[in-house]
Assembly symmetry: C2
């Protein structure tokens, strides 16, 4: 098919497709003449993947590029891909200004991981992100938030199991690679949405009559 049909079938404007081609997020079509190209179903799929990562996952274009480059690499190393995808979603850690607090918080995170028996490389970005969150909460006077994070951690264990199950189910390396991407990026959005719904449901359960918690009358 030509670019017009690609556009119609995906709902992505032609100039946008050209932009993605320029950026290398979409492989070039097969040439039929010096200035004509033909696209196929793989382009449709890729385009949908790009849109999903941008629209649903909220990734910036640069991160999408990064992730797709890794997906396209011939390596079947799940851990490497997992690492790249994981790196892609953290917005270049803002590492809080207070270096001491940050270091202390990272110690706390390490301790938490040890408690749980979680293996983790020292420099995983999620580690410092989590530490930064704790520092933020602390400087805002919400030091009790650490306890909630502890509860989150034990709950997250189940999420990790579900995630790895989802990946392991797939046949073939290609399918697995994409499952890592889809599961991780779309999974984030799904989880956050479910958290919202769970909060509302739990809130309704606790305070049935639109009353606020400290007004039990």
């Amino acid at each position: 098919m030509r670019i017009g049909e690609l556009s119609k079938r995906t709902g992505v404007a032609v100039p946008t497709i050209k932009y993605y081609l320029r950026e290398g997020m979409l492989p070039p079509g097969e040439r039929t003449s010096p200035n004509q190209a033909r696209y196929d179903e793989t382009h449709i799929h890729r385009l949908r993947l790009v849109r999903a990562l941008i629209d649903v996952g909220g990734l910036p274009v640069a991160k999408v590029k990064e992730v797709l480059t890794t997906v396209d690499s011939p390596s079947g190393d799940i851990e490497k891909l997992l690492g790249t995808v994981q790196r892609a979603v953290f917005p270049a850690l803002p590492t809080s200004a207070e270096v001491e607090m940050q270091a202390a918080a990272e110690q706390e995170v390490h301790a938490l991981l040890d408690e749980l028996g979680w293996y983790c490389r020292d420099n995983h970005p999620a580690l410092s992100v989590l530490a930064t969150v704790l520092v933020s909460a602390q400087t805002l006077g919400h030091s009790g938030f650490l306890d909630t994070v502890r509860r989150y951690a034990t709950i997250s264990e189940q999420i990790g199991v579900a995630d790895l199950d989802y990946i392991a189910d797939k046949r073939g390396v290609d399918g697995m690679l994409e499952s890592v991407v889809v599961g991780t990026i779309l999974g984030d959005t799904a989880l956050i949405a479910l958290r919202r719904l769970a909060q509302v449901a739990e809130s309704a359960k606790r305070y049935p009559d639109r009353r606020r918690p400290d007004d039990p009358a």
Copy 2:
């Protein structure tokens, strides 16, 4: 204190503070003369909150404004605040192009909520976001993702409980209001970070020798 000290103590540049004042995210200081103002600890706190929402929570300035407006309103209605905060983090649902698939997915989400016995207003944004995620996964050929979402849902129930516990612990309406904000926004980031760490840990547990899943030799 004057604006320079406010800047020094928070690490936020003076022009940025002025910008936040203009935008109404930071209340004006107390006037000491027609063109001088004095700031206090509440300004420091507010400024830290703003930076936390932007840097750690990843909220755009407009959303921060929305959230803070609600926090500042005298209403003690937790559900209303919860709603506003929840709305703030979803980037104006991109509602997938395929209207039919979207509707079908929303039906599935409704069914899931019924199964779980979750109360939810029909128009909660998280509902359509979740449906959009499912449509995306489906059009990418990952229809099996629905099962993972089901697992996420039961897990999310525990998250909701932890979240409401965190809020209920607070004394006074003001504290509760801020706890909703901090818990929800920083909580999102914390959860995602923990999910990453859990994935790595689970991956390491399953595939100890850096081998990929389909290569058990």
